[in-house]
Symmetry: C2
Subunit: 211 residues, 2 copies
């Protein structure tokens, strides 16, 4: 009995070109959404003809699916690293910081994910209800443990996680709005440091155990 996903067994050229296509597709999909993007756009961004692209990915959806699969792994990595053993405040601080760094360094990935969820997550619903829920429940239990031990203020761990997701990803997904509102002076690269300072104060001061 072989596994469902067979060994790909790809050529050197196949590996390279597939990477090229995925990079181009990330650019295009994150900017226009799945239906808003055309194979031609992706092919042009990847520097090849449409039939050539379709030689590496037989369907448009295959590109998107591959992209989403890769994304989810790296996307949830910061939460996976939240460690039961570590100091609660330090753990939460570095989680927030890592999430904000991802918003800064991988805004396209964030927007790709946001697009998918906005449309009702038609392609990753099972993952949300399965892998993601399991992970969040697990980490919520960790946080709840810290609360029970009096290390941090008691709150709802799930909504705490949601609010960290929301605030950090906001700087990637709503980037144009953030920059427009902050204006040319404060909207430059420094906005992420300002955001980091603000979020640290908001979450960590708020979570300090009360006398």
């Amino acid at each position: 009995m072989t596994t469902g996903t067979e060994a790909p067994r790809r050529t050197r050229i196949q590996q390279e070109k597939r990477e090229l296509i995925l990079e181009a597709a990330l650019e295009v999909f994150s900017a226009h959404g799945f239906r808003g993007s055309t194979i031609d756009q992706i092919a042009e961004a990847a520097g090849m003809s449409k039939p050539n692209l379709l030689y590496y990915f037989r369907r448009k959806e295959d590109i998107h699916e591959t992209l989403m699969q890769r994304l989810l792994d790296t996307w949830l990595a910061p939460l996976r690293e939240l460690d039961d053993i570590g100091d609660p405040m330090t753990e939460l601080r570095s989680y927030i910081r890592r999430k904000l760094e991802m918003a800064r360094d991988f805004p396209r990935e964030s927007r790709l994910f946001a697009n998918e969820i906005l449309q009702g997550a038609p392609r990753i619903m099972p993952l949300l209800e399965g892998e993601l829920k399991t992970l969040v429940d697990e980490k919520a239990a960790v946080i709840r443990g810290w609360m029970r031990a009096g290390k941090i203020t008691r709150t709802d761990p799930w909504h705490l996680i949601f609010s960290i997701w929301a605030t950090t990803q906001h700087y990637a997904d709503f980037d144009v709005q953030v920059r427009a509102v902050l204006g040319p002076n404060r909207g430059g690269e420094g906005r992420f440091e300002d955001a980091a300072r603000f979020l640290e104060q908001l979450f960590l001061d708020g979570l300090k155990p009360k006398g």
Copy 2:
């Protein structure tokens, strides 16, 4: 000299049908995005034929534009109500609550807006840099005044507003994810009350002036 936008001078039927179309278009656009939606889908949702719909709105973009214009007014209403004179804590609490209520009662509007921003706000960029920035700057000054007066903890007012937007709108835009993670037990209608409690604690406790 007349204004740029002439008086529409519409029939009773025109008014009714245009409303019907806009309602249907909100449903469709918010679910699939602009490019992901077709005129046929909107026409069917509005219970009329495509040519008939095009009799009321000459182009697909016109529907979207009308929808966005209406949206922005109601969308920014809560922030406009933030009152210099009122008690800071009360004002912020009701702002957060109102925003969360909008996420609960008008999720389609929220997603329509999120979609537009995600795509780089191609159709409302001037509004963001103009009207929106002006409003936010004005309210940030109000908040800063409260901070200077020692009524609330000092932080960055702009990022405070961003984080309120992000956390509240998250419950509309990422609704499927929230429900998937909370599961059938906690993901029901009660999730908004849980969120309200959490956000109140997060923001208001964090903003209480320190001893």
